[in-house]
Assembly symmetry: C2
Homo-oligomer: 309 residues x 2
């Protein structure tokens, strides 16, 4: 699956509605403009009405009076976040998108016990990369949310990513557990976790995927590198999902691909009742659109559910 | 400093001699051919004479009888490694290069207490990257040698890299201590180490460099990213050296730059009595030549010493 097939899939789905929390930044409306033009989403914007109007105008947002757009007047960041979450819970929207408010404020609302979007599952981040030298998307987890995941967390993080990527359209994702080496090394905890995750997947403790590791980044993405190292693996060279050993490794990888490899990147938080898009203001519109497409594609629409998905 | 200025510097230096341990692989001679052609090094090859001859012939090595080339017949890997190290200790050569033997065998010989090349200092790896979208070299340490360095190790690793990069020609290297965030976070040990390293450098415990951190990879290499985040720093956006928080983070970064960012990469081990080039057989000749240039440039020649370097 590449960026184009992801968008094609999303366009074929019934249109989903995105609830935007505190939509007072023009970049939100630049993204919404493209998403509506490309017919992948409707929007409900929450925030102080006048500020939203101003931001929309500044962005030249042409769908202000379109039936695919609704506005809900909320006085401040917290009420915008809570309202957007309520819209999800009441099935008026199926994707949550951060507008212009601190991620921490939105996450606090998502994670609160009463009225939040918790499912009992860990919340984790999945980043998607479209790379000039690769013919399919590469997903990386978790480079942004969980600081120092232990093996239990990693199990949940992998399952979260697998579920999301499967819904995006990869039927049995190949998961590489990244480390600095390909051998299990008692001095390198990432390699021990890798061995456990492989066995857990064989025992049905993690489902719908093929897992292998420890694998170096090179063996995970390059068939030649894997062959040179004589690694027999159905994941090596063809990984869809990379589990990074730490938030540092993930964050550095994320940014190196963005800054030096010409990647287009999307990302979302999974594990809550709805996918949450937490792009930064500085992300490009293309990147935000990619994130939206990822989020929308992970939504199982009512239609597909009744069709027995 | 970019790749070209590095090579220019090396060409201006008096020619150094490289001792190659167990030179029984054609790729060694492909590299030596280029290095001699470009007038950056002389070579002493150790290894079983016939196997070396065969490999040299296979590579079309045209300097077999040149005065810049010497051959020393040794029966096996261990004796080749020991002989090459002896050549360094007796000042017949100033750079050690791995031929075709396991890195562990060479390192064991380097690190042995009697007759090795120890200086009392930690041995660490410095990788150099020439990137299409960057006008100066980027150095990363330590992505290959030290598995889980504590703060004491990191101090030595930074100092090793600074000393090497300074000798390569960067007068006061800017060092970014990488983490996933730019704030000091009690839950993220990499950020605490960063804060300590910054203060250590201010107190003169690490010398000849400017250190800042914690910095994300983006803030370290992109002035725009640093500005967007309002980071006031004389390192941000212009880092020469990146200290990675773990071998995993470093290894993944190294490989992402190699596989997706079109980087030309060199690398060497520093902290021993001579720089050690430990390229893999699969590295390109360009990469090996880069490693050699890095290693040779870190050598303070007798001439420069008498000139007061």
């Amino acid at each position: 699956m590449n960026l184009e097939t992801l968008f094609q899939k999303v366009k074929k789905q019934p249109t989903e509605t995105v609830a935007v929390a505190h939509a007072v930044d023009p970049s939100v409306f630049l993204t919404a403009e493209r998403a509506i033009e490309e017919d992948i989403a409707s929007f409900i914007f929450t925030g102080p009405r006048e500020e939203m109007e101003k931001a929309a105008k500044k962005a030249g947002f042409s769908f202000r009076h379109d039936p695919r757009v609704q506005w809900i007047n909320t006085p401040d960041e917290n009420s915008s976040a809570n309202k957007a979450i309520e819209l999800i819970k009441e099935h008026h929207a199926s994707v949550l998108m951060k507008g212009m408010l601190p991620t921490a404020v939105l996450l606090k609302a998502v994670l609160k016990k009463e009225g939040g979007l918790r499912t009992g599952n860990i919340l984790s981040h999945v980043a998607g990369f479209s790379l000039p030298h690769r013919n399919k998307l590469l997903f990386i987890t978790d480079s942004a949310m969980n600081i120092s995941p232990d093996l239990t967390d990693k199990t949940a993080i992998v399952q979260n990513a697998v579920t999301a990527v499967k819904r995006m359209g990869v039927s049995k994702p190949k998961v590489a557990i990244l480390a600095a080496v390909e051998t299990v090394n008692t001095n390198m905890p990432a390699t021990l976790d890798a061995a456990s995750l492989v066995q857990m997947s064989k025992r049905g403790q993690i489902n719908d995927c093929v897992i292998d590791g420890p694998l170096g980044f090179d063996s995970a993405v390059s068939t030649e590198a894997a062959e040179q190292k004589n690694i027999q693996s159905s994941v090596a060279g063809q990984a869809d999902i990379l589990l990074v050993p730490s938030i540092e490794a993930g964050n550095i990888l994320y940014k190196s691909l963005t800054y030096f490899a010409g990647a287009t990147v999307g990302g979302l938080l999974v594990g809550a009742r709805a996918a949450v898009v937490v792009s930064s203001r500085s992300d490009s519109v293309d990147s935000k659109l990619f994130s939206l497409a990822m989020a929308i594609s992970t939504k199982i629409s009512k239609k597909s559910i009744t069709q027995g998905e």
